[in-house]
């Protein structure tokens, strides 16, 4: 009997492991010609993409690939990089599965790219930072910069450069908006009980502490797959606002349960907000007080570059691009600018050029330049949603450069 239960437990673990490992094989978004970029200074320039497309895992979407392809098409239409064609070669790396990311990074390095764009979350970088460092190719992840993976962090590689904002800076800007712009003092803090949520919750509490405030109801953490947040909602019922740093599904649960409990207070969250609204996970009254602190808001942002990107994306795919699509687009532009600045497709030269690269026509942020933590993007927006799902940018903040971590 003991043996049977042991085998069943092993099977359960195998299923858990398999759950996030639906695909790790390479696909190609380019012409598949690859190219030995570092050895051949006249042939095509390869940029490797480390992400999935729809169907490859539970959370795979096409946004990243679509955004990057638009950037590559525009580059090639304008003559490529210094006359050389740009090829985007994709390697499936699941954000749910660090092992698949390690495989994807290795395959990508074998293709000898000049730069890599992706992966998507800090856990993937943590799992591959040593391989990235050994590979010597600059990597531009799409996910938010996390304290553990910025330059000098515990799980960092100096070859990683962030196109997205720094999570603590986002949360801090959001809390400042609640306390300073809206003048609120009673604020609850909840979030998912995993690294992304915990980073946000810890920063929110630290930001409140700086303002001389304590979170209403204390720190409230919940499971990422929670379907009932009654405890958390009741814990913050006396608050004037709540910060919820987590994933779209439980944020939708919280928004709906606030309405069910007749609690009409603003909820401030992060990049999950557009997923909640665009997919109708919460609607009407539930999103009327929703605030999001994000890097950009394509479709609402009015810069020429953002408008051009949105038009190109809508023409190609019939939908408004997400901020992730815009960031993937910009990651390719940054890589291309660094290759051009380096005057070479040799990864070592590109890595050196990344420190001084400047891009001023991004679809997401209007300008990118690296700080000592390798964060390229310091743009932060506070976005407010209305009951009909429309959004307006309430405030744009230019975040401070992030200091190198001393981990």
């Amino acid at each position: 009997m003991k043996k049977t239960w042991g085998l069943l437990a092993a099977a359960a673990l195998a299923l858990a492991a398999c759950g996030g490992q639906d695909a790790d094989d390479a696909g190609s978004g380019g012409n598949g010609s690859g190219g030995n970029a570092s050895a051949d200074e006249s042939g095509p320039i390869t940029i490797a993409a480390l992400w999935e497309v729809s169907g490859e895992s539970d959370v795979a979407v096409d946004d990243f690939q679509r955004g990057a392809e638009i950037a590559v098409a525009a580059l090639n239409e304008a003559g490529g990089i210094d006359g050389r064609e740009v090829v985007l070669e994709r390697f499936a790396a699941s954000p749910l599965d660090p092992a698949s990311t390690a495989t994807a990074v290795q395959k990508a390095l074998d293709a000898e790219p000049s730069a890599m764009v992706g992966p998507l979350v800090a856990g993937q970088i943590q799992a591959t930072s040593a391989a990235i460092e050994r590979g010597g190719v600059p990597v531009i992840p799409i996910g938010n910069a996390d304290p553990t993976v910025i330059a000098g962090g515990d799980s960092a590689s100096d070859h990683v450069w962030f196109v997205n904002s720094y999570i603590p800076a986002l949360v801090d800007a959001g809390v400042d908006y609640l306390t300073e712009d809206l003048g609120l003092t009673e604020i609850g803090v909840i979030g998912t009980d995993e690294p992304f949520g915990q980073t946000g919750v810890e920063q929110a509490i630290a930001s409140l502490d700086e303002a001389g405030l304590e979170p209403v109801g204390g720190e409230q953490l919940y499971a990422p797959d929670a379907t009932d947040l009654t405890q958390q909602v009741l814990a913050v019922e006396s608050a004037e606002a709540v910060v919820n740093w987590g994933f779209p599904n439980p944020i939708a649960v919280q928004l709906n349960q606030l309405v069910q409990n007749d609690i009409a207070i603003p909820t401030l969250t992060g990049p999950s907000a557009p997923v909640v609204v665009d997919n109708g996970l919460a609607e009407g009254e539930a999103i009327d007080d929703l605030l999001a602190v994000m890097t950009c808001n394509p479709g609402v942002d009015e810069s020429d570059a953002s408008t051009a990107f949105v038009e190109a994306y809508e023409a190609e795919h019939g939908a408004t691009p997400s901020s992730n699509a815009a960031l993937a687009h910009d990651a390719v532009l940054i890589a291309a600018a660094a290759i051009s600045d380096a005057g070479s497709s040799d990864p070592a030269a590109v890595q050196e050029a990344m420190a001084d690269v400047e891009v001023t026509d991004g679809a997401c942020a209007e300008s990118y330049a690296a700080d000592e933590a390798h964060v390229l993007n310091h743009q932060i927006q506070i976005v407010a949603y209305a009951a009909d799902g429309s959004s307006t940018t309430e405030k744009v903040v230019e975040g401070e450069p992030v200091a190198r971590a001393d981990g």
Partner: protein
């Protein structure tokens, strides 16, 4: 008082959902010896079928839910034919691995069919609330408890008063003796797989409106429901239902007042206590009857 009632109502509804999920794989395990690790993905599939019926076929929430439960019964039968029947004479672990494969295939097919973006399923009877002792309780939670109560009563009736139910129980108690007495193993096995999958589908359509549907949505429920089944002794229906209710109420009520940071881990703490004090489960009588 209102806070306690709100947490209790939430705990009972959570326990009810876990009970349906747990009963699904306990019924199957007792009748066929199979622990079906595709059960969580059947929960997910049930929600997606209801979503498809609502959006693409234009059915209302209740007909869409009924269609989903019926469709899942069919899916269960297909799984029995494809992943169980050919392996019936093989070691139990071979069948368990086949259910793992079935889980991955199901998830992949749903991903290709519906994509991986989270979706919203409307509540069966609207998104209103009713006040109970001053506490607002979502109508969907009341619907969950009512439906599960009816299903539990129906299952109890089926297993004690109908020929098909008695055959399944006989198969669970002693498969060889049941076959010698004329119980048709094939039919009972298909019926049980179908019933188990239908219960998974029912859980999916009941719980999805409280959250959002995505590809991993049923897996977490399956793991927690497994805890409920262990507490109940993996034996009789009442024990499993009680175990699931204990999980839900402990998680919400105890987690709501004390040990808030530990609420997600409380079900597993309860398992440890039960396994230490009563290894065969709270209501287990030591037998294998349903």
């Amino acid at each position: 008082m209102a806070r306690f009632v709100a947490l209790l109502a939430s705990g009972i509804a959570t326990g009810a959902i876990l009970a349906v999920v747990a009963l699904g794989f306990v019924v199957l395990h007792k009748a066929t010896g199979v622990v079906n690790f595709a059960h969580g993905d059947l929960v997910t599939l049930g929600a997606y079928v209801a979503l498809w019926a609502g959006t693409d076929l234009g059915l209302g929430p209740v007909p869409a839910a009924l269609l989903a439960v019926a469709a899942l019964f069919g899916v269960g039968v297909v799984i029995e034919r494809v992943a169980h029947a050919p392996l019936r004479k093989r070691p139990a672990m071979t069948v368990v691995v086949a259910t793992l494969a079935a889980a991955l295939v199901l998830r992949g097919l749903v991903a290709l069919w519906q994509g991986s973006t989270p979706r919203s399923l409307p509540p069966l009877l609207g998104d209103g609330t009713v006040r109970i002792a001053g506490a607002p309780v979502a109508v969907q939670r009341i619907v969950i408890v009512a439906v599960v109560a009816v299903v539990l009563a129906g299952l109890a009736f089926t297993f004690t008063r109908t020929s098909a139910g008695r055959q399944v129980r006989a198969l669970a108690a002693d498969p060889e003796a049941a076959q010698m007495l004329g119980v048709r193993t094939r039919g009972a096995s298909m019926l049980t797989f179908g019933l188990s999958a239908a219960l998974a589908g029912l859980a999916g359509v009941l719980v999805a409106p409280l959250s959002a549907v995505d590809l991993g949505f049923g897996f977490g429920l399956m793991v927690t429901a497994f805890a409920g089944a262990v507490i109940g002794g993996f034996g009789n229906l009442g024990g499993v239902a009680l175990g699931a209710a204990v999980i839900g109420i402990v998680q919400q009520v105890v987690g709501g007042y004390v040990l808030q940071d530990w609420a997600p881990a409380l079900p597993y703490a309860v398992i440890l206590v039960i396994v230490l004090l009563r290894p065969a489960g709270v209501l287990s009588t030591g037998g294998t009857r349903l």
